[in-house]
Amino acid sequence: MLSLAETIGERILLAIRNMGRMTIFLYAAVATLPFPPYRVRRIVKQVHFIGAKSLFVIVLTAAFTGMVLGLQGYYTLRKFGSEGLLGSAVALSLIRELGPVLSALMVTGRAGSALTAEIGIMRIGEQIESLESMGIDPVKFLIPPRLLGAIVSVPLLTAIFDVVGILGGYVVGVKLLGVNAGVFFGQMEASVEWNDVANGLIKSLVFGLIIAWVCTFKGYFTGRGAEGVSQSTTSAVVLSSVLVLVGDYFLTSVLL
């Protein structure tokens, strides 16, 4: 009984310690943002890596998500004779929830894991210590460009996800199932408000921060050897995804 309590207590303390370390890590990275050097080229490189290189997977996922929404939405709404609301259903689902969340999950899988692995390999290859030995703060050098890269890229990818998803819903609803195009877009225009778009973008900003924060932290404090990097990468993807979903619930509660 005592050992069970000890184990639980130990785990709780470890979790609290890790939360503290993550917070200090984020603070150390963010606190350097206002001060030069700004390393614009490195930020652009990260936007390219996290954003541009994720474009294909985002477009593909968005198209099929929109198409599935079109199919499911059409047959559900038809039961109530409300097929005309398909445009609203597809657009609101995508803009409010699916766009930010699925974009974030796809970026986590494609770019977040790579961020963890890259920084983890730098750690085990003594490149981070090498920066330290040159008198360069590795957190300041490595983390802010990646944070900014993700914060810029994820909202842009989310916007693309929303547009492509709506087009997917349009193709299935209008072109395949015969919903009137004017009704599809008219209902969408009537029901989607600027607030919905803004809330979706706020969520994607927060998700971008979560992904870059968790993934760089896990890479920076990776375990020993290749196994350590592989474990860090897995745990970064799992933790980022969970935090995105949990964060989505709380953000939705606050923003609604």
Partner: protein, 271 residues
């Protein structure tokens, strides 16, 4: 420590005169425990200025940990690490970064940045830590690459280089800022004898050219006695010998003799 032989044996060049008798780095009663094991147990050591000092010992003896203490990458639990009289273990991060400008360090695997070319790797500390213009940086980088015999490799990436070339690039990067002190963490481990000797020869010639203080961890025993002025023997987290190379070779300490001869019998039983 008494002064070593005035002539460097392998190079045949004259040993540089020491500017003064004060050691540049001094470890005083340094203690460090890692993963529950006492890695450094009250280490006292002086590193003489403008000399090549080799640190030898068994694997896991605490050599790399001791080297990292000298540049403040690891802080001791007890004791002092003095660089020209300043205890770097008590400095703030910013103050420590200023002290590190006096150092260059070559890591075991080279620690080159994979995404940068050889040229960019060597230029990196100049671009990040100095106000030099691109023209001057280019001049310095090319001169250092020429010094290590890699003029033609400037456009290559680290994964296109052999182990010996990686160490030479890392050496060029370590000395490109003209530091006063260069630390080497096993610069020749895993290299064939010819490449190993060429790296040691390069280190020796660079010493004579620039007069750096050099501290080098090595497993090249007994060759390292030829290539260094002083030898420090570390065992079980303690310095068991620290003297000119010629004296350490003739040490009466049975562990030192076992290490030099590579005997499987002696004070240390591994099997």
């Amino acid at each position: 420590m008494s002064d070593p032989s005035p002539i460097c044996e392998p190079c045949g060049l004259e040993t540089l005169p020491a500017p003064d008798g004060e050691p540049v780095i001094r470890l005083v009663n340094v203690e460090k425990t890692l993963d529950g094991k006492k890695v450094l147990d009250g280490v006292n050591l002086d590193i003489p200025r403008q000399r090549i000092t080799a640190i030898i010992g068994l694997s896991g003896a605490g050599k790399s940990v001791m080297l990292k203490h000298m540049i403040g990458l690891i802080r001791p639990e007890r004791g002092q690490v003095l660089v020209d009289g300043v205890d770097i273990s008590r400095l703030s991060r910013e103050e420590l970064y200023k002290v590190r400008r006096r150092f260059g360090m070559l890591f075991q695997g080279g620690a080159l940045f994979d995404s940068l070319t050889v040229y960019e790797n060597v230029a990196f500390p100049l671009r990040e830590k100095t106000e030099l213009g691109e023209g001057e940086i280019r001049e310095r980088v090319l001169s250092r690459l020429a010094q290590v015999g890699l003029e033609g490799a400037q456009g290559k990436f680290p994964d296109e280089l052999s182990g010996g070339m990686v160490r030479r690039v890392a050496f060029a990067r370590a000395m490109v800022t003209d530091p006063e002190i260069i630390l080497f963490d096993e610069p020749t481990t895993g290299l064939d004898p010819i490449i190993r000797n060429s790296i040691l020869n390069l280190i020796c010639h660079t010493y004579h050219q620039h007069g750096f203080t050099m501290v080098m961890i090595s497993h090249d025993i007994p060759e390292i006695f030829l290539w260094s002025h002083y030898v420090v023997v570390l065992h079980d987290g303690k310095v068991v010998e620290a003297a000119p190379a010629a004296e350490v070779v003739h040490s009466v300490n049975p562990f030192v003799q076992q290490l030099i001869r590579g005997d499987i019998t002696g004070p240390v039983h591994l099997m």
